[in-house]
């Protein structure tokens, strides 16, 4: 990325990172998520590139016809990916996109404005990633399935930098799965994705985190929405990856924008899963809707931080947020924080949060009909997740996620 404008951005980002350094527990956004131990480990930077031939089967979704985009250790693997031949659809490795004028116009224009040191270091040093460009008026026929694979023999740090541009009146669906090779050593992935939805664009965006315990992830997603655009994000985290921090920041930057963030985290063992979301209402007549459900098992910890920011100009905002938690282990922990900052006076904002356990009466009711304790628990967890899973537009993914929920449940007394 030696080009001058991009080179400048990277240099500035590097300098920013040098001043801030890695966040510590005094940093409000990282209060319950210690990264010091993580960043103090010894990592080999960008080792094993471009990586060997890896198997992406673990991420496959039954019944889904997709354009596969495979990233191994942050590197776009054209040899393993599908090249869409559809008119108006471009998929490129970040390294090959630098000259692309749409790429150059948007690269590092959004995420770097948020206060996240991991974005700075990503802008400064990330070498590859993917660029998806959907031209104006184009409705992509198949979903893109981005599969992030880690595969390393030494503890390693990887970065990828991604840009998604959905043109005016265009529509797309992107599924991103995170997996790690079975015998892989530990890895830390720092992924930054910037997404721009032009006027009247629509994007369905799924995150499926199904990596094993060696995987540690820092993901920052920055969404910039223009007039009448619709962004739907479905963020699913399952047992495995020992550390997951997702920042999903949505900027409702024009009028009549609609944004939905749905989340389902099912955790176990000593996982730490932290979802930080932001709905930034900048303009009038926008609607945001957020519902996160967490099922926290064994000694795992989940953090939910839902910030709704309604700026002075954002009159007639309609913002809804709900977070429900089911604590399933004596050692399970949830930190949940709705954070509403409202500077406009004619708005409708609501938020709610619950923390509970299995409804014993419901369990007994199901058992009294001959349903085993295990099956009764599965039914009740499905029921708990239902408000979120029923919103999944993609039926194949809904089925897939419901099965992952079943598999992820630690059954037993």
């Amino acid at each position: 990325m030696g080009d001058r404008p991009i080179g400048k951005l990277r240099k500035a980002a590097y300098e920013r990172f040098i001043t801030t350094g890695f966040p510590n527990a005094k940093h409000e956004e990282w209060r319950n998520t210690g990264v010091q131990a993580l960043v103090n480990e010894n990592f080999v930077f960008d080792s094993h590139l471009p990586g060997r031939v890896v198997n992406s089967n673990a991420a496959e979704i039954a019944g889904k016809d997709v354009y596969k985009i495979i990233l191994v250790n942050g590197v776009f693997r054209q040899d393993l990916s599908d090249i869409p031949l559809e008119k108006g659809v471009e998929v490129l490795p970040t390294t090959d996109a630098l000259e692309h004028k749409v790429f150059a116009a948007h690269f590092a224009q959004y995420a770097d404005k948020s206060d996240n040191p991991f974005v700075s270091i990503n802008t400064a040093l990330a070498k590859d990633g993917f660029f998806i460009h959907v031209a104006d008026g184009c409705c992509v026929r198949k979903a893109f399935h981005v599969i992030h694979i880690s595969a390393t023999h030494t503890s390693a740090l990887y970065q990828s930098r991604n840009l998604i541009i959905i043109g005016k009146n265009a529509e797309a669906e992107i599924i991103e799965s995170f997996i790690i090779e079975e015998d892989s050593d530990q890895s830390l992935s720092n992924v930054v994705s910037e997404i721009v939805l032009a006027d009247n664009a629509k994007l369905e965006h799924y995150y499926i985190q199904i990596a094993d315990h060696q995987g540690r992830y820092l993901n920052h997603t920055e969404v910039m929405q223009q007039k009448h655009s619709v962004y739907n994000n479905y963020n699913c985290v399952f047992p495995g990856a020992s550390f997951v921090r997702n920042n999903i920041y949505v900027r409702l930057a024009d009028e009549d924008v609609e944004s939905h963030l749905y989340g389902i985290s099912l955790t176990s063992a000593n996982q730490l899963v932290d979802n930080h979301t932001l709905m930034d209402h900048r303009e009038p007549h926008c609607e945001s809707y957020e519902w996160y459900k967490n099922i926290i098992q064994e000694e795992s910890t989940v953090i939910f931080n839902g910030k709704i920011f309604v700026r002075e100009d954002a009159q007639k905002t309609n913002a809804f947020q709900q977070n429900n938690n089911m604590l399933m282990g004596d050692q399970a922990t949830i930190f949940t924080k709705p954070q509403l900052e409202i500077f406009a006076d004619d708005v409708k904002c609501s938020h709610g949060c619950t923390i509970g356990q299995f409804n014993e009466e419901a369990l007994f009711y199901l058992r009294s009909r001959g349903i085993s304790l295990e099956q009764a628990r599965v039914l009740l967890v499905h029921a708990f997740a239902f408000d979120v899973t029923e919103r999944f537009k993609d039926q194949d993914i809904k089925t897939y996620v419901n099965r992952l929920i079943e598999q992820g449940l630690k059954i037993g007394d």
Partner: protein, 254 residues
């Protein structure tokens, strides 16, 4: 079929059942009446296997099997069914999926394969008609937003679907208007056979006009203190429980 001997049970260390005896044979309908706090609902809960109740003495045999040693789901699979006084609302669990799971688990216990979708739906349709249950409710979440009457009817619909050996109706008549009561009673009467038995727990004689019992028992202070035919229910309706309480309490008085 069901044999309860000297049953003692407590909840939160409070003794509720104090030596209850009851014999129920196939084809019979028994009514258990009694004043508030006499232990009627405790009996229902103990039979179904609710956790919070502790059996301190006595035995319950169902067709020669020790019921008390079984988990609630195994009791159901052996043929016990409790129609709840307050059925639970479970949003997100569809009535039909729940029933399919229950029917197939009970079948598996009997060594039968899961029901084919078509056969299952046919059965659903038949049983809906049998107990006059609104088909629209079948596809909704389990009891969610159902009226009191609809919930009770759903209990009877489940009873029809699961075909238990012994059904315990815990105050199924409470909160029902006269039309709903008739529908529920009609359903139960349709389901009566020489193979199964019913134990109805109720406060009021009214239900017994529609479901005529073979035996009526009065439960008081954790024991059955009087048994008779349906005439006993009429007598209770007329005189209340006080005359019985006096006669039972008398021997303990100084």
């Amino acid at each position: 079929m069901l044999s309860i001997k000297n049953l003692h049970a407590s909840v939160e260390n409070k003794q509720i059942l104090k030596g209850l005896n009851l014999e129920v044979k196939a084809g019979e309908v028994h009514a258990i009446m009694g004043p508030n706090g006499s232990g009627k609902s405790t009996l229902a809960s103990v039979l179904a296997g609710r956790d919070s109740y502790e059996v301190t003495d006595g035995e319950v045999m169902l067709d020669g099997k020790d019921l008390l040693s079984l988990a609630p789901e195994d009791r159901a699979r052996e043929g016990i069914f409790l129609a709840f006084q307050y059925p639970v609302e479970i949003p997100g669990v569809s009535n039909i999926n729940f029933l399919k799971t229950a029917v197939n688990e009970i079948r598996a216990h009997k060594g039968l394969p899961p029901m084919e979708a078509k056969a299952f739906l046919k059965m659903v349709k038949e049983k809906q008609q049998l107990v006059d249950f609104d088909a629209k409710l079948t596809n909704r979440s389990l009891n969610e937003g159902f009226s009191g009457g609809e919930k009770k009817r759903n209990e009877i619909f489940q009873l029809a679907m699961l075909e238990p050996r012994l059904a315990i109706l815990d105050e199924t008549d409470s909160g029902l208007d006269i039309d709903a009561l008739r529908i529920v009673a009609k359903g139960v009467n349709e389901l009566r056979s020489s193979e199964n038995a019913f134990v109805m727990i109720t406060h009021y004689q009214r239900l017994l006009e529609y479901i005529v019992p073979d035996y009526v028992h009065v439960l008081y202070d954790g024991r059955i203190v009087r048994s008779g035919t349906k005439d006993l229910a009429l007598e209770l309706e007329e005189k209340g429980y006080d005359w019985l309480k006096e006669s039972v309490d008398a021997p303990n008085a100084i």
